[in-house]
């Protein structure tokens, strides 16, 4: 039987392909059967067409800010890493000139001086981070929340580059050693994935308000922007609000009453 190398390689390649496909099918066919099951939303889940948050600066003070940050970071097992280059933060405080760099002026109103501005992911309605994610590990839900799937994230950090607000953190190392007090109902993350505020989707699903909103004593308001009579819409009608970097067109959904 005369066969040359090229012919041999061609046949091996074809057989391998057939073997692979056949094996794949065999696994599927021989796999144990499915079960009848249904997957439901919890009956008391909070739903909305477009979740939005209002930060009322008149009701904001240092203690409230600290409570909000502590609550959020505790129930989400956010590690406390002391190094500003490696830290992970879902919600934190900034001064006016850093939270709103484009709107800063030298002679800022007195009531802004030293005011603690709470900053977090804005869950934009036109999110650039969603646009750039190559695996849809970050996506916008139907209720407007920009959600992350840490199981799918490949850690490319494109979303971090794309976010104009610096809302995202990356796990440069294993976060577990840095978690002060573990919260048993929520998972931790692994090194190599990005994370950010998720508007407490796990709480909304159970009929609870986000932790920061609940503990803020009214300084934070959270409701459906699409409902004309909702709390958020009421505030937006009656008060002047600003948003971070609104000129960029990302349509951020965290409004600040100033």
């Amino acid at each position: 039987m005369d066969i040359n190398r090229r012919e041999f390689l061609k046949r091996v390649g074809a057989s391998a392909l057939v073997g692979l496909l056949g094996g794949w099918e065999a696994v599927e066919i021989l796999a144990p059967g499915q079960v009848e099951a249904s997957y439901l939303q919890k009956p008391n889940a909070l739903t909305a067409k477009r979740w939005a948050m209002v930060v009322d600066m008149s009701k904001m003070d240092q203690q409230t800010v600290e409570n909000c940050i502590a609550a959020c970071h505790h129930i989400h097992n956010v590690p406390d890493i002391n190094d500003p280059r490696r830290e992970i933060k879902w919600i934190w405080l900034e001064e006016f000139e850093n939270a709103f760099p484009g709107q800063y002026q030298e002679h800022v109103a007195r009531r802004f001086e030293g005011k603690p501005f709470l900053v977090l992911c804005n869950h934009c309605d036109n999110p650039p981070c969603v646009r750039v994610c190559p695996t849809k590990a970050t996506w916008k839900r139907e209720d407007g929340i920009v959600m992350m799937d840490q199981h799918r994230c490949i850690g490319c950090r494109y979303c971090m580059a794309a976010c104009p607000f610096g809302s995202r953190s990356f796990n440069w190392m294993d976060p577990r050693p840095f978690i002060k007090k573990g919260y048993p109902e929520y998972p931790t993350r692994e090194k190599g994935v990005v994370e950010k505020c998720n508007f407490c989707t796990e709480r909304l699903a159970k009929g609870l308000m986000p932790a920061c909103v609940e503990i803020s004593k009214g300084a934070l308001m959270f409701s459906d922007l699409a409902e004309p009579e909702s709390g958020v819409r009421e505030v937006l009608r009656e008060h002047y609000t600003i948003r971070r970097k609104s000129h960029l067109g990302t349509n951020p959904q965290v409004y600040y009453v100033v």
Partner: protein, 162 residues
């Protein structure tokens, strides 16, 4: 010996298949073959006669014992869970994270919250004797546990830091 077999043997004989051949470097070749069989065979002979029994996962946790007899059922039948718990957990993951559905209704017709660390480990609170026992035996390391707390009660008590 059948006719067909005879035909095949004759055909081979004609090609010179049965003619004595010269083996070059025969000593090296034979030593090599012996070493090969020795190394590969060792993995069989070392364990010959010894059976490594598959461990039984421990199902008697205080949380399970605390339930009335009739309620000591998992979300799906035991045989199904044995073979499919990984698939089930993957499906739960996609439903919870990507579709926002958190309630599961299986063969018991009861509603369960789809959560590895909050539902599964509620009853199966003995990670070491339940999950780990079989995983170690099979030599697999699912990395669910690097995020999903595998000892939530200890974690809450501050006793257990991974």
């Amino acid at each position: 010996m059948g006719d067909e077999t005879k035909k095949v043997i004759n055909a081979l004989r004609e090609t010179g298949f049965f003619k004595p051949q010269t083996i070059y470097d025969s000593r090296k070749v034979i030593i090599g073959i012996i070493i090969l069989f020795g190394v590969v065979g060792f993995t069989f002979f070392y364990n010959m006669g010894k059976a490594s029994k598959a461990p039984e996962p421990e199902l008697t946790t205080p949380d399970i014992q605390g339930l009335p007899e009739a309620e000591r059922v998992c979300v799906e039948p035991r045989e199904y869970m044995k073979a499919n718990h990984m698939r089930l957990l993957n499906e739960w993951r996609d439903q919870v994270v990507r579709r926002g559905k958190r309630d599961y209704v299986g063969f018991t017709k009861k509603k369960y919250t789809m959560s590895l660390q909050n539902t599964c480990l509620e009853c199966h609170s003995n990670y070491d004797e339940f999950c780990s026992r079989c995983h170690q035996y099979s030599g697999i390391t699912p990395y669910c546990w690097s995020c999903h707390v595998n000892k939530p009660k200890e974690w809450a008590a501050g006793k257990f830091k991974e």
